[in-house]
């Protein structure tokens, strides 16, 4: 499982609002939507940031998420943390699934 703690190590440096920064759409569902208090937001990340960097930024903005075992996706595909990102990409942060 790509969880919260391992992702923190992937993140080297995150800065926001830089010139040329990327804008991501961020989505929450179920427990993460309740914890974040929203179902979506927009996140700015520096050029070259990977998906793990973006996730760490989300966790900084929404610390209530940290109590959950999290999974995340980029553009509707499960992410490992090293995926490169582009403006307009869709990041989703959610708990282990419980459908069925």
């Amino acid at each position: 499982m790509i969880g919260l703690y391992s992702l923190r190590h992937i993140c080297k440096n995150v800065s926001v609002g830089e010139p040329g920064s990327l804008k991501l759409k961020v989505l929450f569902f179920g427990a993460t939507a309740e914890a974040a208090g929203t179902r979506s937001t927009v996140l700015e990340i520096p050029p070259g940031a990977a998906s793990g960097n973006a996730l760490k930024k989300v966790l900084e903005l929404y610390p209530e998420l940290a109590s959950h075992k999290l999974l995340f996706s980029v553009n509707q595909t499960y992410a490992r943390g090293d995926e490169p990102l582009n403006t307009g990409d869709e990041l989703a942060v959610f708990t282990a699934v419980s459908g069925g």
């Binding site: 569902f29 427990a31 309740e34 996706s73 595909t77 989703a92 699934v97 419980s98 459908g99 069925g100």
Partner: protein, 142 residues
């Protein structure tokens, strides 16, 4: 209750089950998952299912492609319900049609196990005295 019958009347089988049947097949196995009234002794009033819909559809499609690679099956149907579900209502139906029933059983069992592990859908259990989003206990999906 149990029942066992002989009948000369047509047997009504669900639209889900029947939609997967090509002429060369002989058996369809269907998993019907539904809302349990009691979970670990606690009474559920109803459930809310929520999905990350476009990703859930992609993951369901991946499961079907994988199942058709790994098992000798002909067709697969998966329908998952969202929103509020009352006790006993079907949350998920998976039907697998195959020339030989063994493959249909194996593929259907694999599909529901993987669906519960990988398809981004979540349920909230609503009890008389509270509610909670259920978090899966399954590991890596990448």
């Amino acid at each position: 209750m149990d029942f066992f019958e002989l009948t000369t009347d047509p047997i009504d089988i669900t639209s889900v089950s029947r939609r997967v049947i090509p002429p060369e097949c002989g058996a369809t196995v269907t998993l019907d998952g539904y809302v349990r009234k009691f979970t670990k002794g606690r009474e559920t009033l109803y459930l809310i299912y929520e999905a990350y819909e476009p990703m859930a559809l992609k993951e369901m499609q991946k499961l079907i492609l994988q199942a058709k690679t790994d098992f000798e099956i002909s067709n697969v149907g998966i329908v998952h319900r969202l929103g509020r579900l009352e006790i006993g209502e079907t949350s998920v139906a998976i039907s697998v049609a195959a020339p030989h029933r063994r493959a249909a059983f194996a593929a259907c069992e694999w599909l529901i196990r993987e669906l519960k592990r990988t398809v981004p859908i979540w349920k909230k259990e609503v009890y008389a005295d509270g509610e909670e989003w259920i978090e899966g206990d399954r590991g890596a999906v990448v």
